[in-house]
Symmetry: none
Subunit: 203 residues, 4 copies
DNA sequence: CAATAATCGAGACGGTACGTCACGTCTTCTT
DNA sequence: AAGAAGACGTGACGTACCGTCTCGATTATTG
């Protein structure tokens, strides 16, 4: 029995290790440039230049612009991914919708819109977006709804995903189509209209 | 009195008139290439080549890729823009949602998603999309809803745009995020959940 | 019978014609950079930049650096390619050797050495060098020697090319190996040593 | 008395000694790649990879590609550098010229041409070539010629270097310009033409 | 019916960014 | 210390499109 760290032996790869400074600088300048130029006009050349990094270093670690933007985006969003509060499903969802309305109106909202937009020409990007952003939140939200169904807070014969799409759809639609303002009152209005349809029919 | 074309003061400009063959060929190849490559990878160079047209001819009539795509899109969508049926608001909207679900699943759906996607990096494009596609339909739909409010079919203290966003939001969300299937049952499910919240409270 | 220029009908190709300004600027900056940096360090990027020309314009007309350098070289050398004087073979060759000694010591000499040097790693370049530079001069020189053989000025059982290699070999050797000075006296020294072996044995 | 290594003051540096396997592998793969790709396309990256060696190991011992190639070249040529036979100057030189004709036609000839070619863009390389290859042989050849002048075998008022350039010039010229074949008969032809000019005038 | 004028195709132009390759240097662990 | 492995910033490669610009040819209206 030795003091060798068990099977967590990290087995360092040989060679010079990846520079964390470079990685961070790249992700940061990606995010900054993304906010001012949009996805299409965003060039790897400019990202590398602003990060003080060789272009090859970018290509060494990210296969294309989409993956790089996704990682930059996820890194920025990470803190926001959790559903923080607890309480009745109704209260939690209401607050969560308000929170995302604020996020959609912040610079991050522009990035989210850009990522979804880019995903329309880049299936890989859209898949990454689903996997890293949509699905984690959906999973938590579905759990919340199922629990609410069990307790009788909402009707139990509904598909959780459909409910979520009805609640969040208006927010995304206004984020992406910009046909109407995405103001702080919208979540409340939406909720008030939708809620009656969710409650059990007979008290 | 001369053979001047009557009073329909067309004031033909001198010089060779615009070639309608070229115009059609350009719009058609734009649409075709758009469906197979997405907006970003769509190049004017390729459009002109496929249309058998000089590049300058494209640039003479459309200022940029976005406008060209918009015109190609609107030309293709034109027939679908009207709300055809009449009857109770409930019935009309229900059918209209089903109809758009079908369109979203057709090749045209891909084009719509592409146009919205491109709009995220190109404000001009998004504005053209709103003006030429969203607004005409909204206007008709708003009228329909206001009439239904007047007759007491739905509650009168609601914002028509919010209602429309709740109904169509899930469709657009699935079109753009592709996180779940956009099948023919969705409109019914959405409608059944939302409708109770729209009806007048006390019978 | 019309005044149509016969079959010399130039049949212009369609499209914008090649820019002669660009062509000249490229050849000139090639020559200038070649003299200061050598072949290896000569970059198409730098040539294009100095010529105020797009890189693609260079690549449109020359497949690689070697061909470009060859054309620049030949353009510069063109005026020197003729054997100008006439008289006895002995006198003509003697003067020609002196002339090339001067050329080898001029900036053009550096270019010639560079071209031959580059040819060692680039067979295509060497072939172009032979075709465009060596062979034209050889042809004239061979003719001169054959005439001198006919008149009995030099022995008739010798291979003209061998004679030329003996006479010019020392010049090229010093140009390329730089092991000894290539001064103005060398041609005379070489000529005096070689000449006895060229004259008919018995008068 | 200590375990100090005796008086054979080799003063070994501390640390791991240089790997002779690595050195040989590098020189060998340099030579092999040189024969198949030419100097320009020869990359340190490829040499190191083929030798199974880290790039830094190459750079630790050779400052640049030119020096590395020179050492590889000299190592290969070393055995050929001596003038082996003795006898009359005429006979020795005649045989030496034949010998180099054979060498020039062997794979080594390609390497020599490559080295001279590379030297045209790399003064350092040319200097190394002179120092390590040209000069040693010249020194011996000059001595031979001066002895022949002393014995009256050849005229004494000639510059040995000029003579050598006349004799070897044609060989180098054909090696480098490839305008004519460098066959085994050439040395004899050259020698027969040049020799009369070397012999004393009056018998 | 010629002159004028705008459009057409073709394709060259000066640019910008692409994604790749090798450079020569560096940082890690191993020998 | 020297080794291999391999990441680093740098810079040129050759390519693809950008949007603009000449060309000659074509097709209309105007004098």
């Amino acid at each position: 029995m030795s003091k060798v760290s068990q099977n967590e032996s990290v087995t360092r790869t040989p060679g010079r290790p990846r520079s964390q400074e470079a990685r961070k600088a790249i992700l940061e300048s990606t995010l900054q440039l993304l906010q001012k130029t949009g996805f299409t006009d965003l060039s790897i050349e400019a990202i590398a230049a602003r990060a003080g990094v060789g272009k090859a270093t970018v290509y060494r670690w990210w296969p294309n612009k989409a993956e790089l933007v996704m990682e930059a985006f996820v890194t920025a969003v990470e803190a926001e991914l959790r559903i923080p509060t607890s309480g009745s499903a109704e209260k939690v969802i209401r607050e969560q919708m308000k929170r995302w309305t604020r996020i959609f109106n912040s610079p991050l909202g522009k990035v989210i819109a850009t990522v979804i937009g880019a995903g329309q020409s880049d299936p890989e990007m859209l898949r990454a977006f689903q996997r890293q952003y949509v699905e984690p939140r959906r999973t938590e939200a579905r759990k919340l709804l199922r629990e609410a169904m069990r307790t009788g807070e909402i009707r139990s014969n509904l598909d959780p995903d459909t409910i979520l799409d009805i609640l969040y759809g208006p927010l995304y639609m206004r984020l992406l189509l910009r046909h109407a303002e995405l103001n702080s009152e919208l979540p409340g209005l939406v909720f008030d209209i939708v809620m009656p349809g969710l409650r059990p029919v007979d008290p």
